[in-house]
């Protein structure tokens, strides 16, 4: 298969490193600014919910972190698959960089969800709620990936083996999600935890979408910065890297 030119350029570490230097500040600045705006908007300006009153304001951060966690897993698996199929080292570096960030965001979603659960459902943790369970398993998948990577000394081998795990995992994520959901619908027990609620009004939807975009951009900013560090680690003593280092003779 013939690949376009930009694909090859994206496979070149110096090119990517410099591209991120140019792109990074924009992504990070915009992402953090949107998060700040969204937080102020959501906390102070958006009207209180008529059912949940003020506590609903967690909705401006909790679903976003959960969604970023899942997106991180998909990014990781797709990058790992590209790295495995086309033997592209930089794609492996992307996959490695996405894993810890995704784990952090998933953890954050679980914690904020527990905090939100206490006043609305009366419990911090509900074993058996589909979303909590699939999010928990997602966190375990991230941790398994990181543990497996940590066990290898040889980086090339670690790249390929963890790529297989990531791809198997991404096949499993939807299965896990739906199996947990079916399990509950098969279950005749009370389903108090249907947090669908009424559709959102515009004055809540706008800050919601602002933080969605803010978290997404912040995730990609963190990912690219981590990728830069990963590239430096992997390139070792490459010539282009030496020219870039401040304080050492080029």
């Amino acid at each position: 298969m013939k690949l376009p030119r930009w694909f090859h350029q994206l496979g070149s570490p110096p090119y990517v490193y410099r591209l991120i230097d140019k792109l990074g500040p924009w992504l990070g600045g915009l992402g953090c600014a949107l998060l700040a705006i969204g937080a102020v908007w959501g906390l102070a300006i958006a009207p209180p919910d008529y059912q949940q009153d003020e506590v609903y304001r967690i909705i401006f951060i909790h679903p976003q972190t959960a969604y970023v966690g899942m997106m991180a897993y998909v990014v990781m698996a797709v990058a790992a698959a590209i790295g495995y199929i086309w033997r592209l080292k930089i794609a492996h570096a992307v996959a490695v960089s996405a894993a810890p960030i995704g784990a952090w965001f998933t953890f954050c979603a679980l914690v904020t969800g527990a905090i939100w659960g206490r006043p609305t459902w009366g419990t911090y943790w509900q074993w058996g709620d589909p979303r909590i369970m699939s999010e928990t398993l997602l966190l375990f998948l991230f941790l398994g990936y990181l543990a497996l990577r940590g066990a290898f000394d040889d980086r090339d081998k670690a790249d390929k083996v963890t790529a297989i795990l990531a791809v198997v995992g991404v096949v499993n994520v939807p299965i896990i999600h739906y199996s947990v959901e079916w399990w509950n619908s098969l279950h005749q027990g009370p389903t108090i935890l249907r947090g669908d609620g009424p559709a959102m009004t515009t004055d809540m939807l706008l800050p919601f979408l602002t933080t969605v975009l803010g978290f997404t951009l912040t995730f990609y900013w963190l990912l690219l910065r981590r990728l830069q560090a990963e590239i430096v680690e992997r390139e070792g003593d490459a010539r282009w890297l030496r020219e870039l280092l401040p304080g050492s003779a080029a």
Binding site: L35, A39, L43, A44, P48, D53, E54, V55, R57, I58, I61, H62, T65, P100, I101, W104, F105, F107, C108, V111, T112, I115, W116, R118, P119, T218, L222, R225, R226, Q228, A229, E230, V232, E233, E235, G236, D237, L241, R242, L245, G247, S248, A249
Partner: protein, 63 residues
């Protein structure tokens, strides 16, 4: 202002959720920075070791 911080009695929940999210973001930024700095200083150490300028290998063309 106090009313804003109380969040209708649920202030502890709302603010702790926002605080933890902020903390996760800050920790992530700090982790990335630390990793980048460590990688750069390692690369610098390697570069300093290889300071002796490498000559380009001479190529003799066979006419």
């Amino acid at each position: 202002m106090i009313e804003f911080l109380r969040m209708g009695g649920d202030g502890a929940y709302v603010w702790s959720a926002y605080g933890i999210t902020l903390a996760v973001l800050v920790v992530n930024i700090w982790l990335v920075r630390a990793k980048h700095r460590a990688a750069l200083s390692r690369a610098r150490a390697i570069a300093a070791q290889a300071e002796v300028p490498r000559r380009q290998p001479k190529v003799h063309r066979v006419q």
